[in-house]
Structures are given as C-alpha cells and as structure tokens.
Symmetry: C2
Subunit: 224 residues, 2 copies
C-alpha cells in the first residue's frame, strides 16, 4: 500500500504540480491511460482524489501537463542549417518518445492547450526548416507531411497486438479464422510469405518511409 498512516514519522510534504504530474506520468506509463483516474492517482500520492482539484482545474489539465512532459523529452533541432539530419534525428527521437509513452499517441498532436515544451518543439522545427533554406510555404508542407507520417506510424504500427513474428502468426490466424478459406488471397499471401518470416520487423519500416519522405522533400526544395 502506498497510503501512509496518520501517525507517520514523515512530516507530510504537501502536493505540488510537479509531483502530481511526475506520478501521473509514471502511472500512465505503467498501466495505461485508461487507468489514470483521479482516485488512483490520489491513492498513489497518499491523498484523496479531490485533493488534486486544489492544484488542477480538472483532469484535462493533468493530461495537458504530462503530454508536455513527453514533449520535453524530445530532441529539439538546433537550427544549424543541416535540416535533413536534424529532421531525421527529431523524427527518431519523437518516435522513441512515443514508444516509451504509448498512451500519448493520439494526445500530442492537436491539443488545445500546449505547454511550453510543446510550443518550443514546434518553434524549433520550423526554425530548422527555415534555416535550411525552405520557404515558409515549403516548410509548412514539410512539417505537415513529416508529422503526419511520424504520428501515423506510431498510430498504425506501435499499437499492433503483437511484437514477435510468432505472435503475428497467432493473431493472423484468429483474425482470419471466422472467414472462408481463400476469401482474402493477397492478405494471406502477405502474412504467410512476408510478415511471419523471421527477420521481418515492423519497426524497420519506419526509417524506410522516413527517408523516402526526406529525399522527396530535398528534391522538391532543390527544384523550388
């Protein structure tokens, strides 16, 4: 039990936004966003749920806070002019952050109340592209396609219900079991001839698509 008895020796340090957010982040990492409830979070802090409302207006504000904590973990480009390398590093750093905090996928992109780390991130990305010689219009294109790809990859690949190739085979079988044999020949061929082969890793797809997009952007920039 994390709850402390009343007669504890500890002089009972009061809550703070930082301590609440840190604990909320750990709770979400550990057991998912759906079990980040005000009551559980309070319990983890040795406090009743309603105590949190003294420090935060509502749960949304807590979620805003931990999303900004995730943003603060992402490498921010320096704006030195080497836009392609900087964008590549940012993409991988963002992907890794989303891997560490899977609950954040779907929460980071379109928040109404971005925190300082999120704003700094956006600012640095635009700065890197402009320093790399992009026009404002091209920078908008580039940022749009890159973010769509990175978050989309996280959305479509990192939540898949399997990690190993054996699990792929398992899931594929139970998914297709209710249907007639031969109903989906291409899908079956893809799964049996490719996805279940040892050495195949969905994660590897990320850098392929990333480089395809970065090369395309370089081409477009040169011809502008």
């Amino acid at each position: 039990m994390t709850t402390q008895t009343t007669g504890s020796i500890q002089p009972r340090v009061p809550l703070s936004r930082e301590r609440v957010l840190q604990t909320a982040l750990e709770l979400a990492d550990w057991s998912g966003l759906e079990s980040l409830s005000m009551r559980k979070l309070g319990q983890e802090l040795g406090v009743e749920a309603m105590a949190l409302y003294y420090h935060f207006a509502n749960k949304e504000e807590i979620v805003d806070g931990i999303v900004d904590l995730v943003f603060s973990e992402i490498d921010v480009p320096s704006g030195g002019g080497a836009w392609k390398a900087e964008m590549r590093q940012r993409a991988i750093s963002l992907r890794d952050a989303l891997l560490r905090h899977r609950w954040a996928i779907g929460l980071m992109e379109s928040r109404r109340n971005p925190g300082p780390a999120g704003l700094r991130h956006h600012d640095a990305v635009i700065g890197s592209l402009l320093a790399g010689g992009f026009t404002m219009a091209m920078a908008a294109h580039a940022y749009s396609v890159l973010d769509a790809y990175i978050y989309g990859f996280a959305l479509t690949k990192m939540n898949l219900p399997f990690e190993t190739t054996e699990e792929v085979a398992d899931v594929a079988e139970t998914m297709l079991a209710p249907f007639a044999i031969g109903a989906y020949p291409n899908l079956v061929a893809f799964l049996t001839e490719h996805a279940v082969k040892p050495g195949y890793d969905f994660g590897d797809e990320f850098e392929y698509g990333l480089d395809l997009i970065l090369d395309g952007l370089k081409l477009a920039q040169g011809s502008a």
Copy 2:
C-alpha cells in the same frame, strides 16, 4: 422522446444487429464517440440498454461493427495494374471517410477483430500493389508508409480546433497568450505570415504529401 408507449399501433419490430449498428453509426457521427453509450443507444432504439447485450457480447463488438461499416464506404482498388492511380484514389476515399466519421480516427488501424469489409480492404490494397509490379517486400514498405501518412494526416490535421483562417488566428492567440512575447519567434512567424493568410487551407496539404510519397514509391520501384 423516442420511446414508444406500450399501447402503440406499431407491432414493435425486434432489434437486429444491422439496425443497432446503423443507429450507433448515426449517433457517433452526430454527437461523437464519447456520447455513444449503451444507454443512449438503447434510448435511440426505444429499448433499455441491456437489450443490446442480447445481440452483442459487449460494447467493443458494437464499435467493431461500426468501424467495419466505415471500411465498407471506402473505394477498393480493382487491381488492374495502375497502382499509382488506384492508391491515390484509395487514399482520398479513405481520407474522405475519416472526414465523414471523425470519431473513427484512431479506431480503424489496429483492431483485434476486423470485419469482412476491413479485411477485403487490406486484401485489395495488397493485390493492387502486387498487380502493379511490386515485390512483396516493396508492397509492405508502400502500404506501411501510405497508411501511416493517411491516418497520421487525419490524426494531426482533421481534429484541429479550427476550420477557417479567422479561427486559426483566434486559437493561435489564446494558445500563445500565457507566454512571453518573442518566446517562439518562428512559430509566430509561421502563424502570422502563412497560416492565417486567406487561401491557406490545411486540407490542401494532404495531396501534396500524398503525391510526394507516391512519386517516391515510383522511383524506388523503378530502381528495384
């Protein structure tokens, strides 16, 4: 009130999976996924919530059902060999379906129990790429990057809290208001010099990135 009195003239037609799913889809379209509750859905059908459990094991099964309804609205490639045009049309059709059913973003990609329409969709996409001359490995790359981009675009752009350029200006101002002037110069420049200009439409970004990716895939296929 949608509830009908006991003495109604109607002979009271029993529920069916189809009728429930159709109503659930309309309810989600109309007022969002968060207000698609068993009780509200039952009320809409003139029935108590628990009646739904006679036809569906749980809510998850209903969500699976309406997701497959959305898949059934998407144009499926014919596999005639013109992969680039077919992939372009599918992408736009998928984007449009996600626009009609915004609640579906985040639900369609990694479901454990895909329905027949979803499976048929995946099958046809792989078939189109193979018919277009892609190797299985290249088809996997292509499908991965395309889906990541399409769903990611939907995720990052279609949930933004504004539609018109005036709303952009409004939201940008309230977002940046709590912070020091000059803290985010590039972001401010982007917003004031580009995003709020009349004629700028986030929606237009979609086809730019889509064609960039399709061109990149064509290049990669040729050199394979």
